[in-house]
């Protein structure tokens, strides 16, 4: 169900990799997710990036904050339920210290979710981001993806503000129930 890739256009994960490279975001930490797998594999195979898993999402935010203060740009990859563990670290570290944490969240809980726990967790995500005044975009279309990712990375650096890019099932195909 992944969006049709026109012959001239690379798949979504390659668009993200190209934008990260162009903007020199070299550090990638994540708690894995099936939908993110092609992105994680692609980044891990590219020696430009340092890519590793953490035990919790807030740990990844801490590492990314330290790296940014040390002069190394990074992003954090997670799924919706992982984002739900982050309000404290965003409100007490990323936002008040003006440390730009760019988060890529693969969206579960909508457009064909089969796990009610995921569906409810997903509904807490945008209200939390709005309450913290963290900019967020939902990426649904391949033809808009490079513009959204590239501009978001630039703005995060220039304004020292965190941002979240939500990767919709419309873009990635999402995760579907297999009986």
């Amino acid at each position: 169900m992944e969006q049709e890739t026109p012959a001239a256009s690379p798949p979504w994960h390659e668009v993200v990799r190209a934008a990260l490279t162009r903007n020199e975001f070299r550090l990638v930490t994540y708690v894995p997710d099936n939908v993110l797998r092609p992105l994680i594999d692609s980044l891990a195979a590219d020696p430009f990036f340092t890519v590793f898993a953490t035990t919790r999402e807030e740990e990844a935010v801490g590492i990314t904050a330290g790296a940014w203060m040390g002069g190394l740009r990074g992003v954090v990859l997670m799924q919706t339920s992982g984002f739900a563990t982050l309000p404290n670290v965003l409100a007490s570290l990323a936002v008040p210290f003006q440390i730009p944490i760019v988060m890529f969240v693969s969206e579960r809980g909508t457009l064909g979710e089969f796990n009610l726990g995921q569906a409810l967790v997903a509904r807490t995500m945008r209200p939390v981001l709005d309450a913290l005044a963290i900019e967020h975009h939902t990426c649904t279309r391949l033809d808009e993806l490079d513009f959204i990712v590239d501009r978001t990375l630039r703005q995060a650096v220039a304004t020292q503000a965190s941002a979240t890019l939500i990767l919709s099932p419309l873009l990635t195909g999402g995760k579907v129930f297999k009986p």
Binding site: R56, A65, G66, A67, A91, L93
Partner: protein, 206 residues
């Protein structure tokens, strides 16, 4: 049942956090970065005197080690010290496993273990009972993990950690004396001063 903890602590002196922190800071003569976890650990780092290479957390309990790991990855030629309390470290033990997996050569963790959540009324932490954080760190893969026997041993362990080529953890058993000061809570200034202190940005003009 609690034998490992008893054995590990048998020869460790109970020390004073403000004194240990001052001894640590006095040894840092190569612009080492220091990440202060929250609470009294943080306050005593502040009270040990101004250093532009110090970062002071204000919340995000448990994240001193991850922040220090991020700095250590970004600046592999600078040594980085994480100061963390026992309650804080217990909240984020997985961070030690991640550090062991990355094995940075330039990272030292100092655990200030007073066996209590001192700042909230001295409620006992798990280390007041059976938990041993040095043993836990070894189990999670940080082989260079030791209790400091006394102040001189602490200083020796810091010197070894700084030159030993691998992540290290030093446990310090503490008494219950209050902190010697209180950190100024201005997050943007703390972050900016730290970034200039470790060379990410140029020093402030005048």
């Amino acid at each position: 049942m609690t034998e490992p903890a008893t054995r590990a602590l048998a020869n460790t002196k109970t020390m004073y956090r403000a004194d240990i922190t001052r001894r640590l800071v006095a040894l840092l003569d190569r612009d080492e970065a220091v990440i202060g976890g929250i609470g009294n650990t943080n306050f005593d780092l502040w009270a040990a005197g101004p250093r532009r290479q110090n970062f002071y957390m204000l919340g995000s309990m448990g994240l001193a080690c991850p922040i220090a790991l991020g700095v250590a990855i970004a600046q592999p030629h600078r040594h980085v010290v994480a100061l963390e309390g026992d309650g804080s470290l217990l909240m984020q033990l997985g961070a030690l496993a991640t550090i062991a997996a990355r094995a940075p050569r330039n990272l030292t963790i100092v655990v200030m273990d007073n066996r209590a959540y001192q700042i909230t009324g001295a409620q006992p932490t798990a280390t007041a009972f059976a938990a041993d954080l040095v043993e836990a760190a070894r189990g999670l893969g940080i082989a260079r993990s030791h209790w400091a026997a006394d102040e001189a041993d602490f200083e020796r362990l810091v010197r070894v950690a700084r030159s030993d080529g691998g992540p290290s953890l030093i446990g310090v058993r503490l008494d219950n004396q209050p902190p010697a000061g209180q950190t100024e809570r201005d997050p943007a200034q703390i972050r900016d001063r730290f970034m200039r202190g470790i060379g990410t940005r140029p020093p402030h003009p005048a």
